[in-house]
Symmetry: C2
Subunit: 191 residues, 2 copies
């Protein structure tokens, strides 16, 4: 008989996020999480206070990963245009790497305290990128006829869409990130 490593809060969060991504957070119950984990609901409550705590951990992972991108050397050095290129590629790669986390984040609409906090942090991230776009426009590296906030929304709209259609085994994360950067940049760069 196989022995399975006992669950901890991190591995339970992994399972919960896959369930939330598949069924929607509102549509998913702790029974669904317990079934996916193959343990009783009581065992889950031994590790975590409830569904929202699992959501909060998942949203935290997603947002921590996005903000970590901004601290990478390549996202902090060079011109605004170069930094933007790095950030867009890394956001796409991170979205694909943490697909359940980002899927759940992108669908959150602020129904609970955890969701509202996540929406706030996402907005702060978008404002940061919008400021970089505006700087790159002032630098003359990007076309100036497009509103920087609209550009940020549309780029992330394109990048975030991968959670809706990506299935592993099709294209590599890097190929998708490259395509996103290619379509984006050759569109917004001034020529």
């Amino acid at each position: 008989m196989e022995t399975r490593k006992p669950y901890d809060i991190d591995s339970l969060t992994d399972i919960a996020l896959r369930v939330f991504a598949e069924r929607g957070y509102d549509g998913a119950s702790m029974d669904d999480v317990a079934r996916a984990a193959g343990i009783t609901k009581a065992s889950i409550y031994h590790h975590v206070s409830g569904k929202e705590a699992l959501l909060e951990r998942g949203l935290g992972r997603a947002l921590d990963a996005l903000f970590a991108i901004l601290d990478e050397p390549a996202a902090r050095e060079g011109s605004a245009g170069e930094r933007l290129r790095v950030i867009i590629a890394r956001v796409a790669e991170t979205t694909l790497h943490l697909l359940p986390e980002l899927t759940v984040l992108f669908r959150v609409h602020g129904a609970s305290r955890s969701e509202r906090n996540a929406v706030e942090r996402r907005r702060a991230f978008d404002r940061h990128v919008t400021a970089i776009i505006a700087q790159a426009q002032r630098d003359g590296d990007l076309r100036t006829d497009l509103d920087p906030r609209l550009v940020a929304r549309l780029i992330f709209g394109m990048s975030n869409s991968v959670v809706e259609w990506y299935r592993s085994g099709s294209l590599t994360h890097e190929a998708i990130a490259r395509a996103i950067v290619a379509i984006t940049f050759e569109g917004i760069r001034r020529r």
Copy 2:
């Protein structure tokens, strides 16, 4: 006392779609629809057999509007590249014009027969556009280093994202559609 025009199936569908777009289809109940309409649930069932029938009508509107674009003269005449440009602009405008319908369509994942039909029709639409992209690549109007199917997904990912952030009164539909075409095309057009 004001008299209100009695509801018919179309005006009830309008209300249901706004409720579905706001709460999510799975999270919305017929009680929510009745409350939003200000009538009893029994009155709604006088017009419609249930929640899925309202969803089906909404998805039908969204998909009929998308397919109608392909029949517009400007989407049928000219080079593949020109037709693609028209289709992308018109899809964005249609998404903004029928925001609740398209919001609900873009979130559908095939949980019921109506949803699976809608997913099938959406895929047929995407295949049509993918074929136009491939033709425009062969014509030499678009860069050829990007997979046409990936390009279609990313463009519609960008365009569909408006349902997540658009609030009326900010930018005009036309300005948003122009930005989407500008970012897209100057990215995918060969130079």
